[in-house]
């Protein structure tokens, strides 16, 4: 077990206005300006979205990747609260915080991407809602999950406010929300993959499959653990917090198995659908296919030996590879493998890049502010300098 003593979470404190937060804030303001233009002039004024590529960077990155990287929230909750692996406990609050901010960022992105955003409530209204649509389920699920995440983090807020009675009452029933908070992401993360099924032959055979929900769910869990590792690394180096090496080694151990399962299932499915030939026929989807498989495989060989599996650098690099693999997979599935008729081109515009970077900055800024003000991260052990 780690030599670091387990300590209760506490606010990190310190200055809110630093060079990093100012830069992040500036990025958010720049994004704000682009969004004002979008609101006044329409989507065409700031994006390169067109009728051949109606979904672009904002959906592919901010929604699918942003929420997948935020998946640490549910995948860690699964381990801690459901499978009773209390040893992962110190990771749970940072993971939930990252999850909440990641999903808020995704929600904001959807809002901005909707053409007729003022009618967004139609999705939840019984006379309009269309339950056969995968998007309907995704939207409902994500909305509900954001609420659940807020409830799951409420104890940290109540702790800060020193409202102990309220906190205790909440924690007596928290298990219900935790359970829902594990269920909901399994539903919508897999459905983010199912979204592609209705596109039919418009998605390249290397990516179109009936088991898309399974592939998306598996990669999400892996990406979640990767994100938790990366966040821990950042807080370790940036905020001088302990890098929970042993815990993360175990997390990534599970991640390794998931990656192995993902690759195995993906290739079996490819054989079953008789599409293996496509994996060796030169095309852009073929290139991305092998890139993401390579990235997903990194933890399998980088952490193969017991010694390497304990080295922080290798753990971190494996986490990076898993996250990158998931990123490439989702970008490819929605933007590269998606090939509609005609001869359409698409690449994100400067406006789209600014908004995506701005939303990521918003998320990171939120995490920094929250960990400084709320008891999220474990307090540093006494021995550390």
């Amino acid at each position: 077990m780690s030599a670091h003593a387990e300590s209760a979470p506490a606010p990190v404190g310190g200055k809110l206005v630093t060079r990093s937060t100012v830069i992040l804030g500036a990025m958010v303001l720049l994004m704000g300006w682009v969004l004002v233009l979008r609101m006044i002039y329409g989507l065409g004024a700031v994006t390169n979205l067109n009728n051949g590529y109606p979904w672009g960077l904002w959906i592919a990155w901010d929604v699918t990747i942003g929420t997948a990287l935020a998946g640490g929230g549910f995948s860690t909750a699964l381990l801690v609260y459901v499978l009773n692996r209390g040893q992962y406990h110190p990771l749970i609050r940072p993971a939930l915080l990252a999850a909440l901010l990641g999903y808020l960022q995704a929600g904001l992105s959807v809002f901005v991407d909707l053409g007729r955003w003022w009618d967004f409530w139609h999705i939840f209204w019984p006379t309009y809602a269309q339950p056969n649509s995968v998007l309907f389920e995704v939207a409902l699920c994500i909305m509900a999950y954001i609420v659940i995440l807020m409830i799951e983090l409420l104890p940290a807020v109540l702790e800060r406010l020193h409202w102990q009675n309220a906190r205790r009452r909440l924690e007596r029933v928290l298990f219900v929300f935790v359970a829902i908070g594990v269920l909901l992401p399994t539903m919508h993360q897999s459905s983010l993959g199912t979204l592609l099924v209705v596109f039919g032959p418009q998605v390249h055979p290397l990516y179109q499959s009936n088991i898309l929900p399974l592939l998306f769910l598996t990669s999400t869990i892996g990406m979640g653990y990767a994100a938790v590792t990366i966040e821990s690394a950042i807080s370790s180096v940036g905020l001088r917090r302990p890098f929970e090496k042993e815990i993360l080694a175990k997390l990534l151990g599970i991640g390794r198995w998931l990656m192995g399962a993902f690759l195995f299932v993906r290739f079996i499915d490819l054989i079953y659908r008789r599409a293996v030939g496509e994996a060796f026929t030169l095309s852009t989807p073929m290139v991305t296919f092998w890139i993401e498989n390579l990235l997903f495989s990194v933890p399998l060989w980088l952490l193969a030996s017991k010694k390497n599996a304990q080295r922080a650098k290798y753990l971190f690099l494996s986490a990076m590879a898993m996250a990158l693999g998931g990123i490439v997979y989702r970008l490819s599935a929605f933007l590269v493998a998606y090939q509609t008729g005609g001869s359409w081109s698409y690449f994100p515009s400067l406006g789209e890049l600014i908004v995506t970077a701005g939303l990521i900055s918003f998320e990171v800024l939120g995490i920094i502010v929250a960990v400084r003000l709320l008891p999220i991260l474990p307090a540093p052990a006494a021995e550390r300098t």
């Binding site: 006044i40 009728n51 499978l83 009773n84 053409g115 999705i123 924690e171 359970a179």
Partner: protein
């Protein structure tokens, strides 16, 4: 790492249970829908089309669409000063396009020839857009099968644009109050006893309006005749009084829309292969049916989610409450073997 392996297998077992539930759900898979008995549609016969494009301004006028001054630099032409759309769009619901090869002098010939094709909504029997839309903005009439769009419901998510395999619904990106545009078979004219504007104005009956079952009979009739035979071609609406005599063209075997993704109500005949006209190769199964089968399989009656939730609640309760401890207290350190 034996403990973690055990944990993993627990998780895997639970996932497998859900997946098994999904497989069981597949048993009541959603079949591809059937064409309504009184379905209305169009027959576009490319061999009859003379490229006059009368159907384009007629459609614009019938639907109140503005002119589209598309600069045709792509073709090396000067900037257009008249309505010259390159493609259907947020402001154009119907376009006649021309395939050309080599000298382009011979009608309906692949080499050194040209051919005309129409691009507009196919009014699928099992539409992907209707399945995809989360707010019921795309609906299919149960009687005449026309696929309609309601701007009141639309949230502008563009899932329909992405889902349609023919690339039909088009979004107006150039405005802060965008809408989706697509042909709705002039359903607003039907109540007045009129019919689709494109068919009404077509001088050669290349675009013919009518009940799909009648149109299919007409297709069979034309394909049974020897190319070059003189026959009577109906104009406007099938079963009407407007005919003219002309020669039957040489058709490719395929009738486009007969089986594509479960069939469509707008059918095409052509003298040149459809791939040359940018009409996509599509399977017989409707993607909407596949997507809904998966969704229903996983979520049918919310049985699987509820079961899963039950397991989760029980486990969370045990781990967080039953021990009687403060859930936020640090658990005792684990002893490793």
């Amino acid at each position: 790492m034996s403990i973690d392996r055990r944990d993993f297998f627990k998780l895997a077992a639970k996932t497998a249970a859900v997946a098994a539930g999904a497989k069981a759900g597949v048993a009541h898979a959603r079949d591809t829908k059937q064409m309504p008995e009184e379905a209305l549609g169009l027959l576009f016969d490319g061999t009859l089309c003379i490229g006059c494009r009368a159907c384009m301004p007629a459609c614009k006028e019938a639907n109140g669409m503005p002119a589209e001054l598309t600069p045709l630099e792509a073709n090396g032409q000067v900037s257009a000063v008249w309505d010259a759309p390159l493609d259907i769009s947020g402001h154009t619901l119907n376009v006649i396009k021309a395939y050309r090869d080599g000298t382009g002098l011979n009608k309906d010939q692949v080499t050194d020839g040209f051919a005309f094709t129409k691009q507009s909504c196919f009014h699928c029997v099992d539409p992907s857009c209707v399945s995809a839309c989360p707010v019921s903005a795309m609906t299919k009439d149960p009687v005449n099968g026309i696929v309609s769009y309601s701007v009141d419901a639309c949230i502008g998510c563009r899932y329909c644009v992405a889902a349609c395999p023919f690339g039909v619904p088009r979004f107006t990106y150039d405005t802060p109050k965008p809408v989706i545009s697509k042909c709705q078979l002039c359903k607003h004219r039907l109540e007045k006893g009129e019919f689709a504007a494109c068919a009404t104005v077509c001088p050669t009956g290349a675009t013919l309006f009518g009940k799909v079952k009648d149109l299919k009979k007409e297709i069979d009739r034309r394909r049974a005749l020897e190319p070059g035979t003189t026959t009577r071609f109906p104009r406007g609406r099938i079963g009407g009084n407007d005919f003219y005599e002309g020669k039957v063209g040489k058709y490719v075997r395929r009738v486009y829309g007969e089986r594509e993704i479960g069939g469509t109500q707008v059918l095409h005949l052509s003298g040149v292969p459809f791939e040359l006209l940018d009409k996509p190769e599509l399977p017989d199964v409707a993607p909407a049916a596949v997507s809904e089968t998966i969704q229903h399989g996983l979520y049918y009656g919310l049985i699987a989610p509820a079961t899963f939730l039950g397991i989760l609640v029980a486990a969370a309760r045990r781990n967080m409450i039953a021990a009687g401890k403060d859930p936020d207290a640090k658990p005792p350190p684990e002893v490793k073997p």
